[in-house]
């Protein structure tokens, strides 16, 4: 684990945001809004929680992270780069022919990416199987899955949720990036979402609700998760799509839009990273 103070981690989140926007602008990678809402969640995981070693990415006793909302791949790649898995400059190969940085993480993704993603709602089931297997084998790994709220539309999420609770998989932590938007609209207008915390509780999970941009709340929730002995844990993180960039916040156009060069300059100014 690599502890880092909230202040410096908040600064790092700004750098990650700017890199995301620059990479998006230069490589025409969409889904910025989806990436920006999860920045603090991944920062807390990768710098304060996960037992990982970028120099030994396949160490057997590592904790596993799955980005189930695979369209936010750019965020995962950026976090892995800043965490030391590969140089940040490599990110600018995103989407280029032959590059490991596919728009959704594939089998040729760089070290540190544990699962392929793209088709939604595949990770929770796989991680449930992994968490169960760790129990069978007497291993102490922990398993963290980040999902979007739109993704909860998929029925397989709830199949896995019921199974994981039935097996008391306390080594499994689901995190919902609840940014209240999905591809084409407000998530609550498409399917009935709230009370989301109660929903997961009813499915047998230990539910925690946090502000998904508050690093200390996220960290506390991750700590609380480790104290639970008989249930899987879900952290419902209230977030803002496009968080951290004033003109992107809560504007669903940034699910697909690519920023212009001028907009990236503005973003750098906003983040005080010029």
């Amino acid at each position: 684990m690599n502890s880092q103070s909230s202040v410096s981690l908040a600064e790092l989140c700004k750098k990650i945001r700017l890199t995301l926007c620059e990479v998006s602008q230069q490589t025409k990678t969409p889904h910025l809004g989806s990436c920006l809402s999860s920045v603090e969640l991944l920062a807390a995981l990768y710098w304060q929680e996960l037992n990982i070693d970028p120099l030994n990415p396949n160490k057997v006793e590592r904790d596993y992270f799955a980005l189930s909302k695979g369209h936010a791949a750019s965020l995962l790649y950026t976090v892995l780069a800043y965490r030391g898995y590969f140089p940040v400059k490599d990110l600018y190969q995103h989407g280029k022919t032959g590059s490991p940085f596919e728009e959704h993480p594939g089998v040729n993704a760089p070290a540190g990416v544990e699962l392929v993603a793209g088709s939604l709602a595949h990770a929770l089931g796989q991680f449930t199987g992994m968490a169960l297997s760790a129990k069978i084998k007497g291993l102490s790994n922990r398993f963290y899955v980040l999902m979007g709220d739109g993704e909860l539309n998929e029925g397989t999420i709830w199949e896995a949720a019921m199974f994981a609770a039935g097996q008391k998989l306390n080594n499994l932590v689901a995190i919902v990036d609840f940014n209240k938007w999905q591809g084409t609209g407000r998530s609550k207008d498409i399917m009935h979402m709230e009370p989301l915390e109660d929903k997961w509780t009813a499915f047998g999970w230990h539910s925690i609700r946090v502000n998904g941009h508050d690093l200390s709340q996220i960290t506390e929730a991750l700590e609380e998760a480790k104290t639970i002995t008989d249930k899987p844990i879900v952290i419902i993180a209230d977030t803002i799509k496009g968080a951290g960039v004033s003109f992107m916040e809560d504007d669903n156009n940034w699910h697909y839009r690519i920023p212009t060069e001028d907009e990236v300059i503005k973003i750098a100014q906003e983040l005080a990273l010029t």
Partner: protein, 305 residues
């Protein structure tokens, strides 16, 4: 056949701590002996086949050797995308076992029929597709499947299928098994429809047409060596399967000869492209599908000398 599966799995699970069964709430007492030996590795995944496939992929990632088991349509069609992405694309050694394949559950209606599963599974890169003719072939294949590191689909029957082999044969994945050599025609069968192929060969021989009888327990990878040799040796090939005549084993054979630009008359027998929606037994359903010796012989009369 499902009893043979449970028995083989038990033997393997005793020998190997990584063998793990996920089943979708079927089997009743079938897996009780396994539960006694390895309760933590005998997992009822619930009536949630898509999640079962994903979980098995996860188990394989953690080094286990998972088998997933339920009635064929529910573990091939219902969870197809989980098999495609989580298992086949990630190239994980998950063994997908479909029981009651084809028309085994004829009397349960089209929800429980499966005659699209071979087409689905063989269309997936990395996937091995097996359809043993009887419990003995299944018994021969199970240890090979457990050791094989490729994703594998194992299409099996239900119970009380006729015995083809008096003893467990020695099989190799990807190699067709010639049961009775012949000279003029090759009858290639896959899966539990085999007794129909066997009876057909008997009839052909009675008519003075020397026919070879082959169990193609492996549909993918297809035994190309056999098919190349067959092209030199036989005047025509007959394929028989309890599967849609399009997209299955016969299609694979047809594609092989087409891809290699080899001339070979091929007569495919399978289920025509319509649902079997009339109540009846497996024998009734086979009659409707034209998968009887009489029906096949009648069709062949038009082309055979």
């Amino acid at each position: 056949m499902r009893n043979a599966f449970a028995k083989c799995l038990l033997t393997l699970a005793i020998q190997d701590d990584d063998i793990t069964l996920f089943y979708a709430d079927i089997g009743n007492r079938l897996f009780n002996p396994l539960k006694e030996v390895a309760p933590e590795r005998t997992i009822n995944a619930g009536i949630a086949e898509a999640n079962m496939a994903s979980m098995a992929a996860g188990a394989a990632k953690m080094g286990l050797t998972p088998f997933i088991y339920t009635i064929t349509p529910f573990t091939t069609a219902r969870n197809f995308e989980q098999i495609k992405i989580d298992i086949a694309y990630q190239n994980l050694p998950v063994n997908i076992v479909g029981t009651g394949s084809g028309l085994s559950y004829a009397n349960l209606g089209p929800t429980h029929h499966s005659f699209e599963d071979i087409a689905l599974m063989r269309s997936l890169p990395n996937m091995v597709v097996l359809a043993p003719a009887d419990s003995q072939e299944l018994t021969a294949l199970m240890p090979l499947v457990a050791k094989d590191k490729r994703p594998c689909y194992l299409r099996i029957g239900k119970k009380n299928e006729p015995v083809v082999h008096q003893e467990t044969p020695t099989l190799v994945i990807g190699e067709a098994y010639v049961i009775q050599p012949g000279e003029k025609i090759a009858v290639l069968s896959t899966g539990t429809i085999f007794p129909v192929a066997q009876a057909l060969v008997e009839q052909l021989n009675l008519q003075g047409i020397n026919a070879e009888l082959v169990s193609f327990h492996t549909i993918k990878p297809l035994d190309e060596k056999y098919l190349h040799a067959a092209q030199q040796k036989f005047e025509r090939i007959i394929t028989i399967e309890e599967h849609n005549v399009s997209g299955g084993f016969g299609s694979a054979v047809l594609e092989f000869y087409n891809e290699h630009q080899l001339a070979m008359p091929i007569h495919r027998f399978g289920i025509p492209d319509h649902f079997i929606d009339q109540v009846g037994s497996q024998a009734d359903a086979r009659k409707i599908a034209g998968l009887t010796v009489e029906s096949i012989l009648e069709s062949l009369t038009k082309v055979l000398p």
